[in-house]
């Protein structure tokens, strides 16, 4: 087995390259059953080329890989729009308790009343938090929650014989999942501009509705927006959409700013999804799993996805709402995430939840205020909610936001979100969350200030970042990678 690859240090060696014939990774018991009649030859697998690695070999391999991943548990992670908050360890314990982790979804509900009670209570608590009447925990991520929302809107219009409502209004600052979802459901997307104050352009909205009002299915609005701003005109906007016969869906991805501060249901919103892996602390896991409960006003509750948990006397059960849009997945939603969110809400109570939002908003404004000297603000003059959106370095240095982000990697800190929202030039989105202390915020500000200095004094340092050994590899050539993608070890091995 080669110690070096391509003449450089042994970097990026996969588990397949650690294969040694004869090694064993887990001790398996001998068979307890008599010899059966064999599987027909045509179904019997001929080759199974998996690597053989000892248990310790596997542990070292992945432990080493883990050191190449800064995370919330190693340093501040101010990734805007993602709410990278602390994932309390007691919640993992909850998820791992035998009574919950070993529950099979096909068991009779009488044997799983503990699980159903957790789901029922979570439905109720989430509904209370956002001011909605009915909730289904079925959607498996935020985007699937959006899919449920748009599907409910479509089903409801179809029910009323209004299938001619074919357009979904979406602000130009929206997360990409919003228009992608609308398209999946078959809607045409109408983009509504954001004005110079950072609010929805109500004149454009009014004009469009005047011309086409009859054909509006609804609006997908994020509140606060991806600019980190709460649109004060939301009730007026809701009214305009309703007057044209449309429904207002809110993408609840930014709920972090509003716990105990405002409720969507009080502001004219008809339905929303919530991201448990954002506001409610379930772990991001490097890309999931998530959970995107859908919350609706009473009128829309018959359309909720299957299942919804109900309570009859002392017993809990699942029902399929009478006009349900159907199941979102094989099972009942991501229970592993439900129980973590349940525990998180129970650990805070109403007062604690409000402290989350107040602290998150103070943190974001503090960082924004301290960086305003060196970095452009996206919407001058306005304070932010839970995320501060900046627009690159001041002073016309034209230093790309990308280079700033790469330089941050040299310090073991994951940079803020870059180049989103699309409507902000050289966008940087900073969301500290309530988990960050004043010291870690000051550390982040100091880093950003240092990088701002370097942009002037030593720009090459930014252009060439990140640098080995701060990171395991230098800047990777993704353009070449995309031309002839190598997507498996087998393909790579064939090439070498």
């Amino acid at each position: 087995m080669p110690e070096t690859l391509n003449g450089v240090e042994d970097v990026g060696k996969t588990i397949f390259e650690r294969h040694t014939p004869g090694r064993v990774g887990v001790n398996v018991r001998a068979s307890e059953f008599p010899d059966p009649s064999p599987l027909p030859e045509r179904f019997r697998r001929k080759n199974l080329d998996l690597p053989h690695v000892s248990e310790l070999g596997v542990i070292r391999h992945y432990t080493h890989l883990s050191t190449e991943n800064p995370s919330v548990e190693t340093a501040e992670y101010p990734l805007g729009s993602c709410t990278m908050k602390y994932n309390p360890k007691i919640n993992y314990e909850a998820m791992g308790m035998s009574g919950f982790a070993q529950a099979h979804p096909e068991q009779p509900v009488e044997t799983l009343q503990g699980t159903l009670q957790i789901m029922y209570e979570l439905q109720g608590m989430l509904g209370e938090i956002v001011g909605m009447d009915a909730v289904s925990l079925a959607p498996l991520a935020g985007a699937q929650g959006e899919l449920a929302g748009d599907s409910i809107i479509k089903a409801r219009h179809k029910d009323r014989g209004e299938e001619y409502r074919q357009y979904m209004l979406i602000p130009d600052s929206a997360h990409g999942t919003n228009p992608a979802t609308a398209a999946m459901v078959g809607y045409g997307v109408v983009s509504i501009k954001t004005d110079e104050q950072g609010n929805m352009d109500r004149k454009q909205l009014a004009d469009w509705l005047k011309e086409n009002g009859k054909r509006v299915a609804g609006m997908m609005l994020t509140q606060p927006s991806t600019l980190g701003l709460f649109d004060p005109n939301i009730e007026e906007i809701a009214d305009m959409v309703h007057k044209s016969g449309g429904l207002l869906f809110v993408d609840g991805a930014n709920l972090e700013a509003l716990l105990g501060i405002a409720r969507f249901g009080d502001l004219g919103v008809d339905l929303n999804q919530i991201n448990l892996h954002k506001t409610f602390s379930t772990p991001h896991g490097g890309g999931g799993p998530g959970s995107g409960p859908i919350c609706v006003k009473e009128e829309l509750s018959p359309y909720l996805p299957d299942p919804v948990v109900v309570k009859n006397g002392h017993d809990y059960d699942f029902i399929r709402p009478e006009k349900s849009i159907g199941r979102m997945g094989l099972r009942h939603g991501n229970f592993g995430m439900h129980i973590m969110a349940w525990a998180y809400i129970r650990a805070h109570g109403a007062e604690g939840l409000r402290q989350i939002s107040e602290s998150a908003v103070v943190n974001a404004n503090y960082v924004g205020a301290r960086l305003m000297d060196r970095y452009q603000t996206a919407i001058p003059g306005r304070t932010w909610m839970h995320e501060a959106v900046l627009a690159g370095l001041k002073g016309g240095w034209q230093k790309s936001t990308n280079d700033i982000a790469k330089r941050m990697a040299d310090f073991g800190v994951h940079p803020m979100t870059v180049y989103f929202p699309l409507i902000v030039h050289e966008a940087m989105m900073i969301e500290p969350t309530e988990s960050e202390s004043l010291e870690s915020l000051n550390h982040f500000v100091a880093l950003m200030s240092q990088i701002a200095d370097e942009a002037v004094e030593d720009p090459v340092l930014l252009k060439t970042a990140p640098h080995v050994p701060n990171t395991p590899v230098g800047r990777l050539d993704e353009a070449t990678a995309a031309r002839n993608p190598i997507l498996t070890w087998q393909a790579l091995n064939k090439k070498q």
Binding site: Q102, G176, H414
Partner: protein
């Protein structure tokens, strides 16, 4: 009115919220230097309509950590489960499976560096996540016999729905028929109908003449391998029927079975889907899982979900990046192949670690599943009052047994008398009082014999005795 809380000077309110009163005071001072109108926290919420601000949330009071543990304990005790320590046997499968999870998987996957980072868009500081994902793609490519596998979807049923859409794009048949075999899990059909609200999903009988069912308006044929009832069907007939009319064959599969069975890729599958929960993940009441989505190399640009590829830095070091991102929502928005964003990365990470540990043993583990189920099938066939209609067909680890009474009643007796979690109710005309039983390597010989005994007693109680 803002809630008045009694806070001792400087004290932070909560273990998860480090901001103290003093911290807040200092930060507000800095903020008001830039924004003079901000004097209190309330001023930061001035855009929220005043009459709607600070709603009173009717929630139970906060629990301390020890109280939280007690509450959780009380709720967990309300559940009756078959745990990994042998508390009682279970023979439930049907798409979610109880397999042995090596202790090492829990230990490594629980590290904060795997659980708490974001999706790996900043490549150089996410090599841990990216390389693990690349290994997942590679492992599943081997298992399924398909060239390309993405980093995962939510789970198998919605992944199958997405391949239906992919098939329409690939064949150019925008409203193409999506044909789903009646031996596919009925819940998968349900999910596909949710995704295809505009219609187009049709169920077909596997006993029908395929050439009459599949035509040039078909976008794809969807089958399950092994099928929902545990039978291993011949995939080649479906591949032939689909390809003859230019349609795609989509196979939803059970990854553990592929430790023993020849993979769908060998029989002409165009796309393969499934759930990787069975590889190294607990039941978790069915969620989270991670969906498998695999396809041919020439079709990869129509595939949804993230893809990880190899890339090199300026000095030739090997690294991993997200690639072909122009398929995805953050770039193409309404023109994306799908809206999918967050999926099941941590579940996939566990599966990767599982396969790394079982590489040398997976065939043997899968074989034990086969042996246990074969024994159970053969023995149940002999119990008076019971039939195993498909006993002569090839299976992996699941099969249907038809009993003398309703499955719900049979299961109640099995639980009350023998403390066994029985099978899934799949009663139909084809399987009267049909129950789907699953035997995995977690079921000992003793447990299976207990099941046989329990069923014999029920057969006897229902008046069946002696020779069949």
């Amino acid at each position: 009115m803002p809630i008045d809380y009694d806070r001792r000077d400087g004290e932070a309110l909560h273990a998860y919220i480090p901001q103290t009163t003093e911290d807040r005071r200092q930060m507000l001072e800095v903020i008001s230097q830039r924004f003079p109108e901000v004097q209190t926290v309330d001023d930061l919420f001035k855009d929220v309509p005043k009459d709607k601000r600070y709603p009173n949330l009717n929630l139970p009071p906060a629990l301390s950590e020890s109280e939280l543990r007690r509450s959780l304990g009380a709720l967990a005790r309300r559940n009756t489960v078959a745990d990994e320590y042998g508390s009682r046997p279970s023979f439930l499968g049907g798409g979610t499976y109880r397999h042995h999870i090596p202790a090492a998987v829990n230990a490594i996957s629980g590290r904060g560096e795997f659980t708490s980072p974001y999706t790996p868009y900043q490549f150089e500081i996410a090599q841990g996540t990216l390389q693990t994902g690349f290994e997942f793609q590679s492992f599943l490519s081997i298992l399924t016999g398909m060239e390309i596998v993405n980093t995962g979807m939510y789970e198998g049923a919605s992944a199958t729905a997405e391949t239906g859409k992919m098939a329409r794009r690939l064949t150019g048949r925008e409203n193409g028929r999506v044909l789903v075999a009646d031996t596919v899990n009925p819940r998968i059909l349900d999910v596909m109908n949710t995704y295809f609200q505009g219609g187009g999903v049709e169920s077909f009988s596997t006993e029908a003449n395929l050439d009459q069912v599949v035509n040039e308006q078909t976008a794809c044929v969807v089958v399950q391998y092994p099928n929902y009832f545990g039978v291993v069907e011949d995939l080649e007939q479906y591949a032939e029927a689909a390809h003859k009319v230019g349609a795609k064959l989509i196979v939803n599969t059970y990854p553990m079975a592929l430790g023993l069975l020849e993979p769908p890729g060998s029989f002409g599958a165009d796309m393969v889907t499934g759930d990787a929960q069975c590889l190294g993940n607990p039941l978790n009441f069915g969620g989270p899982s991670v969906g498998i989505l695999a396809c041919r190399d020439e079709d990869k640009r129509q595939m949804p979900g993230r893809l990880i590829g190899v890339a090199y830095d300026g000095e030739g070091r090997r690294g991993y990046v997200l690639t072909l991102q122009t398929r995805e929502q953050h770039i193409r928005r309404e023109k994306a192949t799908s809206n999918v964003c967050t999926t099941g990365a941590l579940v996939a990470t566990r599966s990767t670690m599982y396969l790394a540990l079982t590489g040398s043993s997976l065939a043997q583990i899968a074989d034990e599943n086969y042996r246990g189920a074969a024994y159970a099938m053969a023995e149940i066939s002999k119990i008076p009052g019971f039939k195993v209609p498909d006993v002569d067909q090839p299976h992996f680890n699941e099969f249907v047994a038809c009993g003398p009474i309703r499955p719900s009643e049979l299961n109640r007796r099995l639980l009350d008398i023998s403390d066994i979690l029985g099978g899934i109710d799949v009663s139909s005309d084809r399987y009267p009082n049909g129950m789907l039983f699953c035997v995995t390597e977690m079921n000992t010989r003793q447990e299976v014999d207990l099941l046989l005994h329990g069923l014999s007693v029920i057969g006897y109680e229902e008046g069946y005795a002696g020779n069949t």
